[in-house]
Amino acid sequence: MFELDDDNVAVVIGSGAGGGTMANQLAQNGIKVVCLEAGKRMAMSDIVNDDDVMFGKFTWLDERIGEAGALPDFPVWTCKTVGGSTMHWTAATPRLQAHEMQAKSTYGLIDGANLVDWPIRLEELSPYYAKAELMLGVTGTNGIPHLPGSNNYKVLEAGARNLGYKDIDTNNMAINQQPRDGRGGCLQLGFCSSGCATGAKWSTLYTEITSAEKTGNFELRSECMAVRLLADADNRVTGVQYLDATGTTRIQKARFVCVAGNAPETTRLLLNSRTDRFPEGLANSSGQVGRNYMRHVITALVGIMPGEVHFYKGAQVAGVVRDETRHDPGRGFHGGFQLHTVNFTPAFLANTMLPGKWGKEFTDVMEQYRNLAAVMIMGEDLPVPDSRITLHPQRKDQYGLPVTVVHYQHHSNNRAMINYAMDRARKMFESLGATRLFDLVDVFPATHNMGTARMGEDPATSVCDRWGRTHDIGNLYISDGSLFPTVGCENPTITIIALVLRQAEHILDKITHNEL
């Protein structure tokens, strides 16, 4: 639709929460947008309620290498499909808390942590959270009722009340109970992370992308892998080099570029776009691109309960206890954590829950699947400079791009938090008569990838400014979780969307004033 040499178009890289939202905001306001997406476009009929099948359909399976605390063969679990990780997300949409955006001021100096305050405060982001919640139809906001509670939720709630917790409900979810805004209602299919066959769960695939297409200002180029950002001597991005579906190299000229590839791909693209002026990667004069990689502390507890639960029935994360999300160093760690519902397929449990076990002791547990309940812990992860995404010096993938290396180092705060949180979770399930408990620790690949192009006021210590524009390159924006200076303990997607809505407003304002 748009010509490759049309230098009036905006190029958005990625079509997930950040890219899809940005593209639609620009297109709705008359800006011509080309969206480059590495993955294929699925039809709604391609989405089936089956974890095993969907994993093969939309997961980013190109080689990535994990080091240290990252899983070696599969360090991060992101998506390669139109809609990006909004196909895989569980649609929980908690806002960050004010103190979490002022982590350095609140937590103080912590050895080994590169803590900072965000360059913006919660009050500045709040209007955009509100806009995002309306856009997504988040339950518990805008008069939209909470989802009904599943069996697994009722177990969580009962156990939490036994421990004296009070702030418990079926979570703020971007899942429709009733049809709304062209999306269906929730049938409690379960396994939201396999994609939602009814569209009850918000995904850019069938919201922002289709809305943008109706404007006539938007062109989606799926199966197009961005390989390099091109910059001129004036520190301006001039275009994006990419490989199209046939493997042919193309260059799309650009007025400005928004990169939203999810932290691993956003990092790789910047680091791979070296110039004479930026020998360490574009927009990387600070040396911070790829550093301070954060992913949340994620563990789970599975319990064999005294009666049937059938925890696979129903929305995955529609149930949360917020009492421990506060900052209270008296617990022996900094930051807080959520306790929320989660469920697993027999295959996932078989492969993770009883490592090294076999024989009857294994099958006896699996045959009690009906009675299983599970709770997930999601806690704040502190920024560690050497937790870092880099490019492998030799290994190349099928695009000829250097393979991404994800090096993750646990901060000692993580273990203290995990010990405390798992103990709380155990006590919850024990109070209900659980007969056996299983820890799932260090088994999950990272689904939340953040911090590798952090925002900040100082160009020497951060990659982007308070708008997510790179300090080095005036027309280059980062529009995904890479921006987070710290991560709090909340699921990141709604914050990505709020940041991008705010960023889009800023960009449109710049365009109005002929400054972009």
Binding site: V48, N49, D50, D51, D52, V53, F55, G56, T59, L61, D62, E63, L71, P72, D73, F74, W77, P148, G149, S150, N151, K154, V155, C186, L187, Q188, L189, G190, A197, T198, M305, P306, G307, E308, V309, H310, Y312, K313, G314, T345, P346, A347, F348, A350, N351, W358, G359, K360, F362, T363, M366, E367, Q368, Y369, R370, Q398, L432, V443, F444, P445
Partner: protein
């Protein structure tokens, strides 16, 4: 399977998260294994019945039919066929089991003797390969899902909104 090597996918799915994918990307190979169930299996030199017994002994579910375990064994053999495969690993491993069987065929021993022999080879590469592979494949089987009470794809039935997602009756 151009974007990712077969070997790497097996590693991811069997050892890392499982998450299951084993079936999806393997469907062509697996279908082939199923089609060849009678007679036309390539001469791989692997005793499929012994391997099926092994898979059973690793994950013994009384209510699961022997054919299901045989199917898993055939899938494992199919995965190891071709240039990237390692049929030798399977052949050697089964031979090691027989060597622990005091001159008999391992699979003809009674259950407790089989277990004894199995424990003796638990440190071998063969055992460490077959264990996660069997597990990843077996727990994707609809027969297992039915046994343990997992519903699988619920879209055809309209999900669980009216089918017991909130029917828990033992909580106070």
């Amino acid at each position: 399977m151009s974007a990712i090597s077969r070997r790497r996918l097996i590693t991811i799915t069997a050892n890392v998260i499982s998450v299951a994918a084993v079936a999806g990307p393997y469907l062509p190979a697996l279908a082939l294994a199923q089609d060849n169930r009678t007679g036309t299996v390539p001469d791989d030199g692997v005793d499929a019945e012994a391997l099926a017994t092994l898979v059973h002994d690793l994950f013994p579910h009384e209510a699961i039919a022997a054919e299901v375990y045989t199917g898993i064994a055939r899938m494992i053999i199919a995965q190891e066929q071709g240039a990237a495969g390692d049929l030798m690993l399977l052949q050697t491993g089964l031979r090691q089991l027989n060597e622990q069987a005091g001159g008999q065929e391992w699979r003809s021993l009674d259950a407790s003797q089989r277990l004894q022999a199995l424990n003796k080879i638990a440190d071998t590469e063969f055992f460490k390969t077959v264990l996660p592979r069997s597990r990843a494949l077996l727990y994707l089987r609809p027969e297992i899902w039915q046994l343990v009470g997992y519903g699988g794809n619920a879209l055809q039935q309209g999900g669980y909104l009216t089918r017991g997602f909130d029917d828990i009756d033992w909580l106070n």
